[in-house]
Symmetry: D2
Amino acid sequence: MGKLVRFSISIEQDLLTAFDALIQARGYENRSEAIRDAIRRQLVHQEWEEGEEVAGVITLLYDHHRPGIGEALTEIQHHALPQVIASTHIHLDITNCLEFIAVKGEAKAIERLADRLISLKGVKHGELTATSTGRNIK
Amino acid sequence: MGKLVRFSISIEQDLLTAFDALIQARGYENRSEAIRDAIRRQLVHQEWEEGEEVAGVITLLYDHHRPGIGEALTEIQHHALPQVIASTHIHLDITNCLEFIAVKGEAKAIERLADRLISLKGVKHGELTATSTGRNIK
Amino acid sequence: MGKLVRFSISIEQDLLTAFDALIQARGYENRSEAIRDAIRRQLVHQEWEEGEEVAGVITLLYDHHRPGIGEALTEIQHHALPQVIASTHIHLDITNCLEFIAVKGEAKAIERLADRLISLKGVKHGELTATSTGRNIK
Amino acid sequence: MGKLVRFSISIEQDLLTAFDALIQARGYENRSEAIRDAIRRQLVHQEWEEGEEVAGVITLLYDHHRPGIGEALTEIQHHALPQVIASTHIHLDITNCLEFIAVKGEAKAIERLADRLISLKGVKHGELTATSTGRNIK
């Protein structure tokens, strides 16, 4: 967790009232936690923009009946070591699979890997979710 | 501006250091202003989600040589009163126009209006930018 | 896969040239696949907007040293059955965990669940990634 | 407009049916136009990613009673010539102003300019909307 420091901010009464309502709706424990979250969100964004080492999740929705799709996904992931950490497969129904792949590496390389997987024939929809290794985001 | 109140938040030292660097890179005057901005951003997002009265800008890139495009844009805007407040036209080059239209109204109606304009033949690219009337965001 | 149909579209030569370059950069096999992907992306977006049954992934970066965080995450997920399908946990380093949770359900309920998890103290960063059950997206 | 070419794509019957419904809901004239729009959207995204010359709109919601805000906005815009093309000011109510500034230039420079304006004290909310000069997007 690291050492905690306190500082005070000034804010318009009306803005604070609106923020407190939003905090409660989202389920935050207190204002500090909600503000820390907003700060971390901006730092994660910055890590990706500056091409640092990041973590992420590649989500793929695909039809496993499509010939060769399983092999192609496995092949690309094995060649993308060490970026690929683990993957989980959900059997949504008789045709649809949801696969999510945890990745870590240099931001640009992760983006290229996601492009390759998402563009595969048989992958209906794919998204790269950007998060952080957490090392520089306390 | 309304009455200012102060409150203090607690935060990990390392997180604060990273945030201070980001604040400086973006040009914020101080931490309070950066945090107020993050708060307001969430409130704007909420206004759109809840379908309240909002403000926005519809940005359109189009080719003015396309037959009928100018008339169609004008026609739709006039029928969309009172949502359309004003529009500005930039002559980017001999073929390309950038038009941005300030709008205000119920969120869903604004989205439908943007869809209609963006889907017009001749409009190359369009975006709806979400902001607020500012009435509830101090 | 369903029955394939063919239809033809007309497009400016220059636009097609630029698109072909983008297709190659992303690794698409052919134009049809790239266009189908763009179409499906819009349909996924629409399913979430209209509050249909959807699938998604909630990604959480958290510090497992934070007292009670593990229990809180497990507790919320168990109470969110049947929306929660499975979760995978990655040990990023000595403090940081990456957890991704596959979810399926009504869009609004999924959003509320993600809000609750992301707002937990100890969760540094969280994202809800929107995808589809694939049932209506062929 | 440039020379039109035709090419045909193959697509699952069910996917096409869903797409046709979406096209109608958004108001597109025909499939070709909807697909061209999806293609152009990806090209605009690519121009920004690769730092090319782009166009955009900076939207600012601010409180004109805030001392010095008007001067600061004007000052920054004048120093940002030639990026700033024109700005339009909307008087939303007795305190709130909506200003939108048309900009053109190298993507990174536009982002820095937007950061500076949005971080100004008195600016309640700001967004940079990314579009294109249209030169390479037919």
